[in-house]
């Protein structure tokens, strides 16, 4: 157990991932959901980097570049999401994401 391997990181990433999913599911605040998304992305990033380190060869570079892209995309996503949230709030006068169910079947 002291020897830290790939699996340790993967398990940690799984925990964070599931926490993110739970956050997405259980938060009614749109920002809360967004936070859940950030958690999920982080978990994925951990996985990338861990795989990159423990797989050997040049995968480390690939992994880090992809992780870098993910971070950038996450930032971009966050920017758009926050803009959407403000718009949402302006239109519905609330940030309760459950209120935005106009497309319900």
């Amino acid at each position: 157990m002291l020897e830290i391997g790939l699996n340790h990181y993967l398990v940690l990433a799984a925990i964070i991932f599931c926490a993110g999913v739970f956050s997405m599911v259980s938060k009614r605040n749109a920002i809360g959901v967004l936070i859940g998304v950030e958690l999920v992305l982080n978990a994925v990033n951990i996985n990338f980097v861990a795989f990159g380190k423990y797989s050997g060869g040049n995968t480390s570079i690939d992994a880090q570049v992809i992780a870098l892209f993910v971070i950038v995309l996450a930032a971009a996503e966050a920017a758009v999401a926050v803009a959407i949230c403000t718009n949402y709030y302006r239109n519905l006068n609330t940030i309760d994401i459950d209120r935005g169910d106009a497309v319900s079947g």
């Binding site: 699996n7 259980s26 009614r28 994401i97 935005g100 169910d101 106009a102 497309v103 319900s104 079947g105």
Partner: protein, 806 residues
């Protein structure tokens, strides 16, 4: 095509064009104009017919025969009926020519009369004028009648026959808003259907046995079959008809009788005569044209045309029917008080004379009577129309009287008609008028058939035909007037014509000089040795003779009560007047009566007779031996007429005298006589038209109704019951299938599918909340489940367990 045929066809087609024009533009022409248009059309036809008549009259018999033969070759091939070619053609002979002239001439003057007659009649129905319709029908009738006359083919004759029937129906029912008129129209039409059924039956037999519908061809085939004992006359030939073995001879008789049935309907012979008196419901010009002069004569014309297809038995039937009709209707005419009804019954009686004449073989005489009768009866009908119109639509002669002062032209033209129908003439010497020639000639032929028959017996010695010819079994002609003429084999047909003409040369001189008894010009044919024709029963002679006394009586009664004596109804008398438009035709027809009695008609008929009666078996007595140029009307009174004079020569005087004696002072004496015991009974029976209508009503109408009631009961109880049972059964089945199969089964499936879809939709809809969180939940859950399933399948759990176990 000779110009004769062209003129005849043109004269026939012109009224058709007029008809078509009136159909489309009649209502625009309006009230007097469409009438005059019709007169113009008919006048054109009449001019054509006149040209043809006089030109034809000027031809020699040989030329006529040539033209007749040419007309046959000009027939237009129309269609094949089975294997039999049907040809349209003009039957060009003397009979056609004079019939054509008669129809067009009378029709023209009646159309003129109609213009005057209809002017005074209200013709509005539902606010629309029927005026032009009347003339449209008349045009159609003229076309049909002329087509009937010129048809050379029985099929076309039948077609035109039906067309005139239709026109008659339409015109009788012209005032169809009146119940009696529409009923009369129906009665006429239905009664004619009965006759036409027989006609059609006869046509089929002609078609079947003779293999053609052409008049001449049928006669030739008939004759050929008889001569060679083939076909219908093959030895031992018989047909199984509903279990009876019907021999060829009987079939031939039936064929003739069937064809005669058509004539019975159209010419209103007993027992189908009932429609004609009712047909007087039509406008009076119609009565004059159709129901006195032309259409009803079509039956006689038909019999004359099919004369060569008759057998002695069939001829006997014709004679008996004619005799019954002429007797019965003349008696009924005595007691009628409606001016048109009297004329109608008199028409029936005269038609009976014609049919009777054909039956006894007096072909020429019957048709001659047809011609004279057409003229004077049309004239009298028009006179009655004038009277009715003048007297404010009063038809009862009991309310008239003394009208001669108010309408002199009508009165005296009518009187000419009375004289003509009564057969007035100076006995032994002539001259006479109308019936004096035509009717007496029929009677003479009847006398011949009853008392001087068979002629061979008397003339055998004189004529002395070779035994060879007698034994050959062929028909032969006995020219009794000239011993040197001898017997000529008729199978030679037209070829013998010039020879006999030649032979007549010397006999003519003889005739003019010596009034030879045998100049009766009796040509008896077809006295086949195997089928000898026996003399007629006596009553067939004496009934027509008796009626010859009755005819002047009822005509004088009619005339006297109408025009003479004191006015019995002042209102009618005051109102009476006559109009020029209506009495000019009367004068024209009176002139026509004289004309046809003396000139052209009789010789032309005599000319036609030899070919038209060139029969196989039938007995024909005609004036053939009379030269065509000989003064008409003089042919009989020197011989047979002389024999007749004691019997019937003064009939008109006696009839007139009795009528005058009874009705001289009005109706009192007549009423007294009619109420005398014995006579009262007869009087009532005659007034009721011998109860024939009642019998028909009882037997046919009531029978029909009873049968229909029976049918209705059957319908209501049996058919309906079956139907109801079926319906109930079906309803049960339907209910079963509806509730069990349809509602539960089919509907169940359909509804099931529908609700399944609905539930599925609802179920699928539920996750579609529109909430992002839920979508994430589902996505994650699904991913988890999928992953778990994959893992469960790959046995990865052991590794998990192993790792945790570390």
């Amino acid at each position: 095509m000779s110009w004769y045929e062209q003129f005849l066809v043109a004269g026939t087609v012109v009224p058709l064009i007029g008809f078509a024009f009136l159909v489309f533009f009649g209502h625009r022409l309006g009230k007097p104009l469409s009438g005059w248009f019709t007169v113009l059309v008919m006048g054109t036809s009449c001019v054509l017919a006149t040209c043809v008549l006089f030109s034809w009259h000027g031809l020699s018999p040989a030329d006529r025969a040539e033209l007749t033969a040419a007309a046959v070759s000009n027939q237009f091939y129309w269609a094949d009926m089975g294997s039999v070619p049907i040809k349209i053609g003009v039957k060009l002979d003397s009979l056609t020519v004079i019939m054509f002239f008669m129809v067009t001439f009378i029709a023209t003057w009646i159309f003129v009369f109609s213009v005057g007659y209809m002017a005074g009649h209200s013709d509005e129905i539902d606010g629309q004028s029927k005026y032009h319709r009347f003339f449209t029908y008349l045009c159609m009738f003229a076309f049909s009648m002329l087509g009937l006359v010129i048809s050379s083919n029985l099929l076309f004759l039948f077609i035109f026959w039906e067309l005139v029937g239709l026109c008659s129906y339409l015109l009788i029912g012209f005032y169809f808003d009146k119940k009696f008129a529409s009923n009369a129209a129906m009665k006429a039409f239905i009664t004619n259907r009965v006759g036409d059924f027989g006609f059609l039956f006869g046509l089929m037999m002609v078609f079947f046995f003779l293999g053609t519908l052409d008049l001449d061809q049928a006669a030739a085939n008939f004759r050929q079959q008889y001569a060679s004992s083939t076909g219908l006359f093959a030895i031992g030939y018989s047909i199984d008809l509903f279990g009876w073995q019907v021999s060829g001879m009987t079939l031939a008789t039936l064929m003739g009788v069937g064809l005669f049935c058509g004539a019975m309907g159209k010419s209103a012979q007993f027992p189908l005569h009932v429609w004609l008196p009712d047909a007087m419901a039509g406008p009076t010009p119609v009565s004059a044209l159709i129901h006195a002069a032309t259409m009803v004569a079509a039956g006689v014309y038909l019999v004359a045309r099919i004369f060569r297809l008759l057998t002695p038995d069939a001829q006997m039937v014709v004679a008996v029917i004619g005799c019954i009709t002429l007797t019965m209707t003349a008696l009924i005419a005595i007691v009628q008080t409606d001016i048109k009804k009297v004329l109608a019954y008199s028409t029936l009686s005269q038609l009976g004379y014609m049919i009777f004449g054909l039956g006894v073989g007096a072909w020429t005489a019957a048709l001659f009577h047809l011609m004279t009768h057409a003229f004077f009866k049309a004239m009298m009908f028009l006179g009655s129309g004038q009277v009715i119109e003048g007297c404010h639509h009063e038809q009862e002669i009991t309310k008239m009287g003394g009208l001669h002062k108010k309408m002199p032209v009508t009165c005296w033209t009518f009187f000419i008609g009375v004289l003509a129908i009564a057969g007035t003439g100076i006995p032994w010497t002539g001259p006479g008028i109308g019936g004096f020639y035509s009717k007496d000639e029929i009677l003479a032929a009847a006398l011949m058939r009853t008392d001087h028959w068979p002629p061979e017996a008397e003339h055998h010695a004189k004529a002395a035909p070779s035994d060879e010819e007698l034994e050959s079994g062929l028909s032969y002609r006995l020219a009794s007037d000239s011993p040197e003429h001898g017997a000529t084999d008729t199978s030679a047909g037209h070829d013998s014509q010039p020879k006999s003409e030649q032979a007549h040369g010397p006999s003519e001189l003889d005739h003019a000089a010596a009034h030879h008894v045998d100049q009766a010009a009796l040509v008896a044919r077809a006295t086949d040795s195997e089928h000898p024709t026996s003399p007629l029963p006596k009553w067939l002679f004496w009934f027509p003779i008796a009626i010859a006394y009755v005819t002047p009586f009822y005509m004088m009664r009619l005339w006297w009560l109408t025009f003479m004596g004191k006015p019995r109804d002042q209102h009618v008398y005051d109102h009476a007047h006559e109009s020029k438009l209506m009495y000019v035709p009367l004068v024209a027809l009176a002139v026509g009566t004289f004309f046809c009695s003396y000139w052209v008609f009789r010789p032309l008929l005599a000319d036609a007779a030899s070919a038209a009666t060139d029969a196989t078996m039938v007995v024909a007595i005609d004036g053939h031996a009379h030269d065509a140029d000989h003064a008409v009307g003089l042919m009989l009174h020197h011989d047979v007429h002389r024999d007749l004079v004691p019997i019937v020569g003064f009939a008109f005087l006696i009839g007139f005298g009795v009528a005058w004696a009874i009705y001289r002072n009005g109706l009192e004496l007549a009423t007294r006589i009619s109420s005398m015991p014995g006579i009262a009974f007869m009087h009532r029976a005659l007034r009721e038209r011998l109860y024939i209508d009642q019998v028909y009503d009882f037997v046919l109408v009531m029978g029909c109704r009873g049968f229909s009631r029976l049918c209705s009961v059957f319908d209501a109880w049996v058919v309906d019951m079956v139907a109801l049972l079926c319906a109930a059964l079906v309803r049960r089945i339907a209910a079963f299938s509806g509730w069990v199969l349809d509602a539960r089964g089919v509907d169940g499936v359909v509804n099931g599918v529908a609700s399944l879809t609905k539930y599925a939709g609802n179920a699928v809809r539920q996750p579609q909340t529109g909430r992002v969180r839920n979508y994430v939940l589902f996505a994650a859950g699904s991913a988890a489940v999928v992953l778990l399933l994959i893992l469960a399948g790959s046995g990865a759990w052991s590794a998990v367990v192993g790792w945790i176990g570390l």
